[in-house]
Structures are given as structure tokens and as C-alpha cells.
């Protein structure tokens, strides 16, 4: 670890904070029905969209809101599935690629609709430009907008008092797309092109190398997809190597832009939350807990990767550069470590290094960050509502300790809310550990592993963690494009997204109906360092402890065996 390395990390995070503050306040205006500087341009578009779609903008209760979201996601899934299966008959397919197999198309459609972007296919050899642009990139916008809409609905439950409604899903979805994601994406995409990311409708270029060999260089509309892939915490790369590919991420500056883009909306969400509930400090408290764990995770990866691999040092490799296997030279260890932690703390899942090749402890961190529930700071929207679930659990535990009815932002938290919150947080361990245990016993599943020994278990565990957490990054040695993996990871992604959010929306509905009580001397304040510390503790204990035995058998054992000089 070096001072210059930490300087780069600090600079990047500072830039995120500087931009997230105004963005969060802007979003509070957008979703609070106020005029913004974009209204003169986008207002007519927005109204036109509503008129053509028959959206009246009437407020919905939690059930109608959730149903609208589920129907929208189902229609999105069906259309994307058809697009992928039928791509041979669709336009803008310069390489004449065939349609996807049914299991792969199911997996990919589930992946992009659930904001996961797990990729069992290889972009440049499987998908034409139409499937990438009109299929995947659209879901990059819309699945992110769905997340934002849900978080806004949950936020309104705390902002309102004694009402039955949470807003209108169609309006929130449209506004999240048009006012938040689209303008950010246009600016970011052009910045990417300026930094060297290609943006063309050509398919591939034939080059004759200096030595006279042929090199086919895959090209395409990369920058436009890259921008929304990062901003919407989607993570599905245009190319197989994702953000490690020099066209997706050509230099240190584009790398910094990528990290900024994946963080900025998710960090703006708690700021928006604080604004909308009229207590900005509440938003800062949530953001502080997110950053504390994110920076801790970054530090562990940075330390583990710069410590290097003793097995290769013994062969004469210079340990000063750290573990360079599976990493690109231009980013450096510090900004690679930050990328690893951010992309998994975030449920983004883009990668600028191959996580499979990380040192055992360097690979443990991304797994843990995902298993903590994707709230650090989590996907756009999903991070905020996940964090609110943890905040409810925290005030409940605090209430138990002092024997008072817990309250969060003036709303009494009672048995119904606690049962629903527990239901939500149980989904993740159930899906991850259940599927991992099954796969570890099935020869058909084990045939896909690229590594033996404890690292093989890590590959399995990582795959289901990434799917259920809607992350989408991978220990990519695992050959996931088989019917078993495509089907089970597809299910894990759908459960991780939709089975989680239904109880959360039920909590929101029940809280919106409650009156907002004034704070008294006996109220546990939820905007203090004490609360932040307690929240971090609850996340670690509730989110992390259930996975500890599995992690001990995977990365922890591998670390010990690596120090003992063993290979597999």
C-alpha cells in the first residue's frame, strides 16, 4: 500500500461525494413533484409518454404499486427473452450471430431484468448490436429505474403520515429514467468517448499486425452502453472481459470515471432520502455506515493484493508489484482494489480485474460485501431500501436493549414490520447457501469448475452470492453456460430481487399508514455516530455471520494452505 494509492482512492471518493450531494437534492425535487432545470425540456416528453401509455398518475397503495412493478418486470422479461432468442431475424447484427439457446436466454433475461447483469455469455461472440442496444441497454436503464422507483416509494412511507398510498409506479419509473439516468448517461458516455472508448455501429475491424498476423478487433457502440452499465449499477459488459477490456476502460482516468459513475447515484439515494423525510442528517447517517464498511473492504483488498502471492514470489517474481495475475497494468493495485470493493459493495458487478485470480483474502472481501446484503452502498435504489431494512432491525435491537417500543423517523416499528423485515433478510442466505450446497454435491455442476480444492468451492459460492445479491460479477473461471447453472442462477437472481422487495414494500405500506410521532426525550436518535456504529454492527452480524462457515471452507482455508505452499 502506498500514499499515492490511497490518494487516488480518496480523490475518487471525494469526487463522488461532491456530486452525490446536489444529485440527491435534485432527485428529491424530481420525485417531490417540483420543477427542475430539466423540466422545460423533459416535461413535454414526460407528458407525452403518459398520454400514449394511458397513465393517469393517480397515487397507488403498496399492493398496486408492487403489482405494477411486477407486471412491468414480467413484460420486460418476455420481450428481452424474445429479442435474445430471435436475434438472427432482427436488424443491426453485422456479424450474423445466431439466437441464444433457451437456458442461456432465460438466464440472461432474468439477469438484466433483475439489475444483476450476470453474463453466462461472451458479449463479442454472442450478441449483435440490436440485442445489446435495444435489449440489454434498455434494461440497464429500466431495471435501475425500477430500483429507484421502489426506493422512492419506501422513502415516502417515512415522509408521509397516516396515508394509504406511496406514489405512482409508472410516474416514478418514467421520471427516474428521463430525469436521472438519461441525462447522466449522455454526459458520461461522451466523457468515455473523449477518454478513448469506441462508439461506432461497425462490427469488427481486420488489422494486419506488425508481425503480419491477422487480428480481428471487435468494436461497437461501447461508450453508450458503458455509461449506463456503470450508472445503473448493472455491470454487464459489452465485451467478455468487462471493464478490464481496453475498449471499455482504456486508461486510469476512464477507470476513475467508471468508479465514480457506479457510485454516484447510489450515494445520492440516502441524500435524497434525508431531503424527502425533511431530516438531512438521517440521510448522512445511512451514507456514513455505507462508506465505513466500503472503505474497510477496500483496505483489505488493497492490503491482500499488494502482499502478493508467496507461491509466485518463491519462483522469482518481484513481489513489489503485488499479485498481478488477472490484472491490467494501467490501473494500478490501489484503484483495482477500490474497483473490486465498490463493484461488489454496490451490486454493480462490473470488473476491471479477474476476481477469480485475486488472492484468497482479496477474493473473500467481494463475497462478504455481497453477502452483507448489497447495501454498501448497494444497487441504485435497492441499496437504499436494503439499508432501511437494516435500520429497522437496528432500532428494534436497540429498543429491546432498553425496553422501549422502537421507532424510526417517528414511525413505530411493531411485530408486523419486524416479521416482514426478517422474511426479507432470510431470502439471501436461503438462496445462496441452499443452491451452493446442492451444486457442491452434483457432478454435473462440479464439471464446470475451473479450479480445484477450496478455490473451487469459492467459485460456486461466489456464483450464487453474485446471483442472489443481484451483483453479476463472477469468479469467471466457472463455466456457467450449462443448463444447471443457467437455470439455478437465473432463479437465484429473480428471488434475490423480487422475493426480497415484496416484503419490503409491505413494510412501506404499513408504515405509511402510521402517524408520524414527534421525537421525545426517550426516542433513540438515528442520526448519531452511536446509531451508525450500531447499524454497522447489525449489518455485520445479521448479514455476515450466517455465511462465515461457508467462507471458512473456501477462501479462509485457501489462504492458510497458500501460506503453507500447497497447490491444487
Amino acid at each position: 500500500m502506498t500514499l499515492v494509492g490511497w490518494g487516488q482512492i480518496a480523490l475518487t471518493l471525494a469526487l463522488v461525494l461532491v456530486c452525490a450531494l446536489p444529485l440527491g437534492r435534485f432527485m428529491a425535487r424530481v420525485f417531490g413533484d417540483e420543477r427542475t432545470f430539466l423540466s422545460p425540456v423533459l416535461g413535454p416528453v414526460e407528458r407525452g409518454v403518459y398520454r400514449l401509455s394511458g397513465v393517469d398518475g393517480r397515487e397507488q397503495g403498496w399492493l398496486a404499486y408492487t403489482l405494477s412493478m411486477l407486471v412491468f418486470s414480467l413484460v420486460s422479461f418476455a420481450l428481452l427473452y424474445a429479442n435474445l432468442r430471435l436475434q438472427a431475424f432482427l436488424p443491426l447484427n453485422p456479424q450474423g450471430l445466431d439466437g441464444m439457446a433457451p437456458d442461456l436466454a432465460f438466464n440472461t433475461a432474468a439477469s438484466f431484468v433483475s439489475n444483476t447483469n450476470w453474463q453466462a455469455y461472451s458479449g463479442e461472440t454472442t450478441l449483435g448490436h440490436f440485442a445489446q442496444m435495444a435489449g440489454l441497454a434498455v434494461q440497464n436503464f429500466l431495471s435501475a429505474a425500477v430500483g429507484i422507483a421502489l426506493a422512492v416509494a419506501v422513502t415516502r412511507a417515512f415522509a408521509r403520515s397516516g396515508v394509504a398510498t406511496l406514489g405512482n409506479f409508472w410516474v416514478d419509473l418514467t421520471r427516474a429514467t428521463l430525469y436521472v439516468l438519461l441525462p447522466l448517461a449522455v454526459v458520461t458516455a461522451l466523457a468515455y468517448v473523449a477518454l478513448g472508448v469506441p462508439q461506432t455501429l461497425l462490427g469488427a475491424v481486420e488489422a494486419t499486425t506488425l508481425e503480419g498476423a491477422k487480428q480481428t478487433i471487435a468494436l461497437g457502440p461501447v461508450a453508450s452502453q458503458e455509461a449506463i452499465k456503470q450508472l445503473g449499477t448493472n455491470g454487464g459488459g459489452f465485451f467478455n472481459a468487462n471493464s478490464a477490456h481496453p475498449f471499455e476502460n482504456p486508461n486510469a482516468l476512464s477507470n476513475m470515471l467508471s468508479i465514480w459513475a457506479m457510485l454516484v447515484v447510489s450515494v445520492a439515494m440516502p441524500i435524497m432520502f434525508g431531503r424527502m423525510v425533511s431530516r438531512e442528517r438521517q440521510g448522512y447517517a445511512i451514507a456514513a455506515a455505507m462508506f465505513a464498511l466500503l472503505i474497510a473492504g477496500t483496505a483489505v483488498v488493497y492490503w491482500a493484493e499488494t502482499s502478493g502471492n508467496p507461491l509466485t514470489t518463491a519462483l522469482g517474481l518481484d513481489p513489489a508489484a503485488g499479485n498481478m495475475e488477472g490484472k491490467e497494468l494501467r490501473f494500478g493495485q490501489a484503484m483495482t482494489a477500490l474497483y473490486v470493493a465498490v463493484t461488489t459493495g454496490l451490486s454493480c458487478g462490473a470488473v476491471n480485474a479477474m476476481h477469480d485470480a485475486l488472492t484468497p483474502l482479496g477474493g473473500l472481501v467481494p463475497m462478504v460485501l455481497m453477502q452483507l446484503g448489497e447495501v454498501l452502498p448497494g444497487g441504485v435504489g435497492s441499496g437504499l431500501y436494503g439499508m432501511i431494512v437494516f435500520a429497522l432491525l437496528t432500532v428494534f435491537v436497540a429498543g429491546l436493549m432498553v425496553g422501549r417500543t422502537p421507532e424510526y423517523l417517528g414511525k413505530k416499528i411493531e411485530a408486523r414490520e419486524m416479521k416482514l423485515a426478517m422474511l426479507a433478510v432470510l431470502i439471501l442466505p436461503l438462496v445462496i447457501l441452499g443452491f451452493s450446497a446442492t451444486a457442491a454435491m452434483l457432478p454435473a455442476a462440479l464439471a464446470s469448475l475451473n479450479n480445484a480444492g477450496p478455490h473451487g468451492l469459492s467459485e460456486i459460492l461466489y456464483a450464487y452470492t453474485s446471483g442472489a445479491g443481484n451483483n453479476g460479477s463472477a469468479f469467471a473461471g466457472l463455466n456457467a453456460n450449462t443448463p444447471w447453472w443457467n437455470t439455478t442462477i437465473g432463479l437465484a437472481m429473480l428471488l434475490g430481487r423480487f422475493a426480497y422487495v415484496v416484503p419490503v414494500m409491505a413494510i412501506a405500506g404499513s408504515l405509511a399508514a402510521k402517524p408520524r410521532a414527534a421525537a421525545t426525550a426517550g426516542t433513540f436518535p438515528t442520526d448519531t455516530p452511536l446509531f451508525v456504529g450500531l447499524l454497522v454492527g447489525i449489518i455485520l452480524i445479521l448479514g455476515g455471520l450466517q455465511f462465515f462457515p461457508a467462507l471458512a471452507l473456501g477462501p479462509v482455508v485457501e489462504h492458510v494452505l497458500m501460506l503453507a505452499g500447497m497447490t491444487f
Partner: protein
């Protein structure tokens, strides 16, 4: 349930037009006007022919050239499409080796490559990037230490004075932006082009 279907279908269709067609096409239009070189992939032409992209590494095996990092990219086997064969720097199929730190395959590969380097007189410790595969398999850069290690052999193969090649390496070394962001590195294709231009 049914009354949600109309807004779902029509919103999806309209937002697909905006985000799936208007957005990428508008970005493509602006990009090709304002940043034509970058938008086209940073292609390098020599004598009117495309010789590659400044951003994408190439597979160098000739001793008269500097070599890039090991690459783990593959291509479909022409004899059997279900299998794949090694195809370093395949820019139509990026990817890494994905071998974990305790993989016997990884350690054997690195040992074989390290032994080969030591046999031709490379000093230890060896630059790590010379023996590890990159994440994309297309990494265009090597470390300055790696370039310096190769310089003498390249000079010998070309019949050039060693100092001249070493000076070229120094000239082609790029530092971090503002001395802070990124790493010191050498673009292998640019370095080899500069070598060819030496007379």
C-alpha cells in the same frame, strides 16, 4: 393485474425508443463528429493499412520486437468448434486465465516461463507483469522494468547499440497522470512502431 398491462407494454415500448435507439444513436452521432478517432477505436494506420489499435495489445513473438504480457485468450478450434485453442491477444474474444492463486496450473505455467527467462540471463526478481496474464488478455502495456529487461535482447536481434534501445524505452515510458493517477507503463505496440522507425 390486467389494468397494469397496458401501461407496462406501452411504457416499455416508448422507453425502449428513447433509451435503446435515440440514446445510443445520438451518442454515436455526436461522438463521430467531435471525437472521430476515439469513437472509431483508436486505430493505427501505417502505409494506408490498419495495423491495430493503440489500445489493444498484439501478440509479438519475433525477437526483434518487445513482447507484451502473457495472454490467456482463446479461439474456437477450427477442427472442432466445441473446443477452444490458445490464441493470444484474440481481440474478438477477450478474457483472462481465471486461475486462482493456489492453482497448480498457474504455478507450473509461471515456473516454466520464469525458468526460460532465467536461462537467457534475466536478473531476479523478475518483473511480475512479464509472467502473469492480464485480465482482458489484451493488455497493451508492460511495466518499464519489463521493457528494460527485454531491451538488450531486442538490441542484439536488430544489431542496434543497446544504449539506443534503452533510450527509446525511456522515451516511450509514460508516467502517472499529474504524477498521481495510474501507473508508469510502456505501450508495447507504440514502442515497437518507434523501433521500426529507427534507422
Amino acid at each position: 393485474m390486467l389494468r397494469h398491462i397496458r401501461p407496462a407494454v406501452s411504457l416499455l415500448a416508448l422507453l425502449t425508443l428513447v433509451t435503446g435507439l435515440a440514446y445510443p444513436l445520438a451518442v454515436t452521432g455526436v461522438a463521430s463528429l467531435v471525437f472521430p478517432a476515439q469513437a472509431g477505436g483508436g486505430l493505427i494506420l501505417r502505409d494506408g493499412k490498419t495495423i491495430g489499435s493503440a489500445l489493444i495489445g498484439q501478440n509479438f513473438v519475433d525477437p526483434r520486437y518487445f513482447h507484451g504480457r502473457p495472454s490467456a485468450t482463446t479461439a474456437p478450434d477450427p477442427a472442432d468448434a466445441a473446443k477452444s485453442i490458445d490464441a493470444p491477444y484474440n481481440a474478438a474474444g477477450s478474457g483472462g486465465a481465471n486461475l486462482g492463486p493456489t492453482s497448480a496450473k498457474l504455478i507450473q505455467r509461471i515456473k516454466a516461463d520464469a525458468d526460460a527467462l532465467k536461462a537467457v540471463g534475466a536478473a531476479t526478481p523478475l518483473p511480475a507483469d512479464a509472467l502473469t496474464t492480464s485480465a482482458s488478455g489484451l493488455d497493451p502495456h508492460i511495466s518499464p522494468a519489463n521493457a528494460r529487461m527485454q531491451a538488450a535482447a531486442v538490441a542484439r536481434a536488430r544489431g542496434l547499440p543497446a544504449e539506443k534501445v534503452a533510450a527509446l524505452v525511456a522515451a516511450q515510458t509514460e508516467g502517472p497522470i499529474l504524477g498521481l493517477i495510474g501507473e508508469s507503463r510502456v505501450n508495447v505496440l507504440a514502442l515497437n512502431l518507434a523501433l521500426d522507425a529507427l534507422k
